[in-house]
Amino acid sequence: MAMIPPKPAATTVRGSTADLRRLIATARRWDVIFIGLGLLALGIGILTFLALFVDMLIDGWSRLRPEFFAQFPSRRAEQAGILSAWVGSTLVMIVTAVVAVPLGVAAGIYLEEYAPKNWITDVIEINITNLAGVPSIVYGLLALGLFVYAFGLGQSVQTAGLTLALLILPIVIVATREAIRAIPAMIREGAYAVGATRWQTVRDHIVPYSMPGILTGVIIGLSRAIGETAPIITIGALTFIAFLPPAPVTAEFPYLSLEWLQAPFTVMPIQMFNWTSRPDEAFHANAAAAGAILVFMTLTMNGLAIWLRYRLRRNLKW
């Protein structure tokens, strides 16, 4: 950095404008350099992703036909599809969301609004932060011992959903807390001032206002969960499965069935992994197509989060 050198008082008046100009020019140059570096960093990230995605699209393009979504796995690459995989992934995500969202949001609200500030709360907080960094395979091993063997839930959709729910629970909790903290204190104080109870404050103000942030956290968590392979393999997801779980809606009374929770299943990343390791190269096109669809599913979820956040933010008035 150029500094203005100390000069004799007599020349200061004449020299100062030139010096100032030089100083501004230097500062501007630094701005340009920083913008360049930032764009470079951004470009590396985006271009790498785009290159991978486009490469996958090109490799898998010939397989991206409607039948690909409606066919079961097969030993013949051109007859193989992702029906059991995408249905499995979707069902597992539903279970994960249904379990992780209420638990995570409730835990976050409790920790922010109700929990007394003492060492137990501190320990819980540190644990949650640490849990977010635990490798996913560890959750898989835990789930194998706990859900599969101790609880006898089997190698089923419900076990996978619960496992991934555990995995994303810390993400949801942290996101909920961040969102609640972003609410100005005056909102809470205002509610208390007019005599609202803690629960009324939470229900009518805290939850609605923090909803955009919570949703973002939930979707980030689910986006991570949908790509997970290690814990799902650990609990015993299958590779070849040519039938669908039972339908949730039935023809007879009571028209609803939760039998699909106990069904064996496979998910997209496992199907992809199996296809990439095949000797026959035609399967590699299938893997690329399945990969492109998985990326698309993740992007759709992220897009949904952005849209929801935008819509909910519009309704906020404070």
Binding site: R75, L238, F240, A242, F243, P254, L256, S257, P264
Partner: protein, 332 residues
Amino acid sequence: MRISPRLVAAALAAAVSTAALAQSALVKVDGSSTVYPVTEAVAEEFQKAERNAIRVTVGISGTGGGFKKFCRGETDIQDASRPILRKEMDDCAKAGITYYELPVAFDALTVVVNPKNTFLDKGITVEQLKKMWEPSAQGKLLRWNQVDPSWPDAPMKLFGAGADSGTFDYFTEAVVGKAKSSRGDFTASEDDNVLVQGVQRDVNALGYFGYAYYAENQGKLKAVPIIEKAGKPPVKPSMESVLDGTYQPLARPIFIYVSARALDRPEVRKFVEFYLTHGSALAREVKYVPLPDRAYAMNREHLARKKIGTVFGGVAEVGVRIDELLAREAKL
């Protein structure tokens, strides 16, 4: 939205009652990734033939991981790329699981080089392979002419199976003489496609993997004929040489183990019978070498005579002829 408690109760009741009712016919298979392509093909055709009245699931837990589940009674059939080991036999015995051991096809480990390599066209002896792969070669045997002075003075690049695979176990057992005993300074991968690419890109490379990966990549790789002992002719891996038993010692049988208790269920019995009837043609289709027809007939006879147990006694063996294998007494 309000959810009525009555609706929730009804839904729960439905879940419980249907779960109890819907024990529809299901055959569970798990185990080796090497056997998987054959079992997958059989499962696919079987479900079609049964019009989906019987459902089959196939998992890939590896031979070792699969046996753990099998000996706990969690699966009906186990895919195995090697015979059951002593420890696994004990586990099964403890849980009261008895089983039939049915060889279903051959897998031929194939030694491959770059298509530009010509000095190995005449074949390689098992002795030379041992010299290249044994642990004492690590860091020392780095050039081709160190193995055989008539070979070029060029760096030797080795590619092989990852240490967790049955392929690695069998290759080291057959070549070095002791399972898992290998030099460590080679490019190892559990994904055989990585090995295919590695050998394809390097003129000085040599690698080994299952026959199916060679069969699908014949234009990019060259298989090296194997000379079992000095004085014997070099033999290229092929359907014929594996079938007639001349491709030694790198051809190995692969198995399914069927739980005797599960076999009492009609759906499992039907599946196993379908496997033994159509396994030969389907194995060929997925580039595995089928057993001779009489072997499938013998398997069927063993099932009929309730010949339970293994003929290996818990130890891995190399270069067993299929006829000899099927004639042996089985033990639990």
